[in-house]
Symmetry: C2
Subunit: 491 residues, 2 copies
Amino acid sequence: MSDPFSDLMAFQRETEALSQVAGRLSWDQETVMPRGAAAQRSDEMAAIEGVLHARRTDPRVGEWLAAIDGAALDPAGQANLRHIRRSYDRTMKVPAKLAAALARLTSVAQGVWAEARANDDFAAFAPTLREVLALKREEGAALADGGNVYDALLDDYEPGATAESLEAMFGALRPRLVALRDKVRGRPAPAALSGQFDEAAQMKLARHIARTFGYDMSRGRVDKAVHPFSSGSGNDVRITTRTAAEDPFNCLYSTIHEVGHASYEQNIDAAHLLTPVGAGVSMGVHESQSRIYENQLGRSRAFCGYLFGQMRETFGDIGIADAEAFYGAVNRVHGGFIRTEADEVQYNLHVLLRFDLERALIARDLEVDDLEAAWNDRFEADFGYKVDRASNGVLQDVHWSVGLFGYFPTYTLGNVYAGCLHAALRAARPELDAELSSGDLAGATEWLRAHVQVHGGLYEPRALIERATGRAPDEGPLLDYLEEKFTAIYG
Amino acid sequence: MSDPFSDLMAFQRETEALSQVAGRLSWDQETVMPRGAAAQRSDEMAAIEGVLHARRTDPRVGEWLAAIDGAALDPAGQANLRHIRRSYDRTMKVPAKLAAALARLTSVAQGVWAEARANDDFAAFAPTLREVLALKREEGAALADGGNVYDALLDDYEPGATAESLEAMFGALRPRLVALRDKVRGRPAPAALSGQFDEAAQMKLARHIARTFGYDMSRGRVDKAVHPFSSGSGNDVRITTRTAAEDPFNCLYSTIHEVGHASYEQNIDAAHLLTPVGAGVSMGVHESQSRIYENQLGRSRAFCGYLFGQMRETFGDIGIADAEAFYGAVNRVHGGFIRTEADEVQYNLHVLLRFDLERALIARDLEVDDLEAAWNDRFEADFGYKVDRASNGVLQDVHWSVGLFGYFPTYTLGNVYAGCLHAALRAARPELDAELSSGDLAGATEWLRAHVQVHGGLYEPRALIERATGRAPDEGPLLDYLEEKFTAIYG
């Protein structure tokens, strides 16, 4: 005898397992795949994606969902049901023809974008972006059912979030961030790290730091790739980082960032393995983990003291006299155009710009032809200097080319959540700085594990943060933290 | 408008792509997978295998096959149709319940075998082997449709081969091989290589030798694993090898062997990519490529001269005075119990033993309880000394535990085919030794590419070898080659 919930979950576990297989294939592609295998790999990836799509739209899922009595389930069962229902409803709302057209177009569009970026030529990308935007507007309208189109897209990455609530939060962030940037800009900057640092030694130190932050190497691994990323769930969660001889901070802080993502996946209650609850609950909460590991913990004065010692042990004299100067070098606020290279003060300004522009694009308040000018104007207003070329401006991110409208705000939402969690962690753990200064992350990562990570997808994102911190999340703690930290450094 | 052959081939291409995905997952498991991921990986592998099984038994395949007019197809189309039909017919003949029971049992049996081998305890494995054998007899009977049960199993690995034809061939091999072994045993053996050889340097030399044999590194890669293997088809064909400080020949000749397998897959006409014709046609032909690369080419006097220079360049003085002594060390006939470590003279005696025993098991002429004694008696008769323990005897190979009855004879068939191909290659290429002695494999591998590898599964195995050599394959050339070579070395 079978019951519909058990049948649904058995089917879903296989789907999750196949989705992990697709993830392993992506990891392979970015790390170890022979370069001549690229075209064949597209066929392999398309085949597994086709299998996943067929399972996600399998009519049996609809029948099981209709037959299940949700009230009779335990909390994990109810949460799994909620995730499966949300995903199934979304999938069924998008006409198959539109979904296929989007998949086809975005796989081509990424290549067009990459070439346009290499040539600093937005006009070469514009026609393709127009097509992507048209299909995403169509998809958003299908999902929104008469409601807000942007919210419908955003919901894919941050269930429950709305543009309106984010506008209020981001609206409060922007003036204080711009003011902080202005204040910092007027003061003498700490000296930057300079010199050449052996790349193999960087990787060795990165692996040590990854372990220090609690990353379980027996269920993961660290490799080099063009872009740092974290991949997989449960007991096989791998990260990548990159190295450049002149910039060991890139390698080390990319590693810590990805360890935040990976630890979240590794630390979810094993009972939820290969179910929807057994994965990070949203992009925003995921980013909260990567950012609190990277910034509030990894770039703290206390941890920088420990890292300074590790750097000198690894590389000898690094041309920086003491831990305080090292802390300044790590947290140096610097010019530049690229979001992924931005410091803590300016990072969210990059995101807010994209959030406003992509809402305008989706709402038809802005057209693709005017996008580059709108980007450049806004950049100058927030950063105080002009974009010098398209690859440093509107062409820098891959997201829009692959249809990720509604994704950008989750970066800043993650920072806001990280701010809230950091305040709660400090309150719960007065000994935190003493621990960090000796490279002991066990207390901090255990607090995050127990309050956030272990739950996986059991609670909705905002409810999870509220449960962990005891209060509804808002931008206050992040702003207070940034102002206090950077006023002290640039005092 | 669609036609049934196009529909079938489109479906089949996706199946082949998914089968490659499963292969990538196996590669990952043996090379880079974190050790803590093993249990989760079983679920992932089971999910992709489930998808493949569903596709192989999809009733649409039967409908397409019934609707296709094979006579209207080109030769590649006819060959693909033949492969798909054979595979579908075989799959449909085996009851789903039996197939599932076999899959379940063999995945457990491998673990039981490994533990029994570690404890040298055949009795601990016997009950499980009895179960595997019972199911394989049942499967063979279902496949044989009243015909020969062993032939039906053999057909999975070597289409068209029969036990009767192999008995004749192997019956001619055995006395001459035993006589050669006796003769060699009575003469003084060349000195063995001894010393310690840096393992990273072994890998570097192995990669160089792989390239020398024509392996395309832009569509493959060489890694270390517990067992050497080749994995994948077309433009992503990876090999593994292993290293031991005291035995660089293991690393180098495992590499050359796997390069033979991998080159076969890499060199198939790209028009057949991701179709049944786009893969090696049988285990026997596959082994013919690995063995001719490894033995007739790689262990030739001429190539050993080149390798001697490479070894000295890599490791300095290796304690062997000249190329002739090095050739002797490479081809030293030695005692031992293990098939995979056997020299060219004795290797096929190991296989013949297994072939006779497994036919007796399938035919119920031998029962599992008597297997160990039968093994030990036969070993002493052919090799002249007694098996000292089960892990050196009946428990040494994984094959039977995972149900591979009918697989062993393809190893010797591969050697026989390699003998035929080698004779034809020598006749076509009088300059071969001059080339080999300078490390120039281009002519030899091009001949094998053009006469064997490029065709993939276009021709049936025996027809392919006959086409390449101009005569029906038989054991004569292999025996002549072995007697001439080892009489000279041990002269």
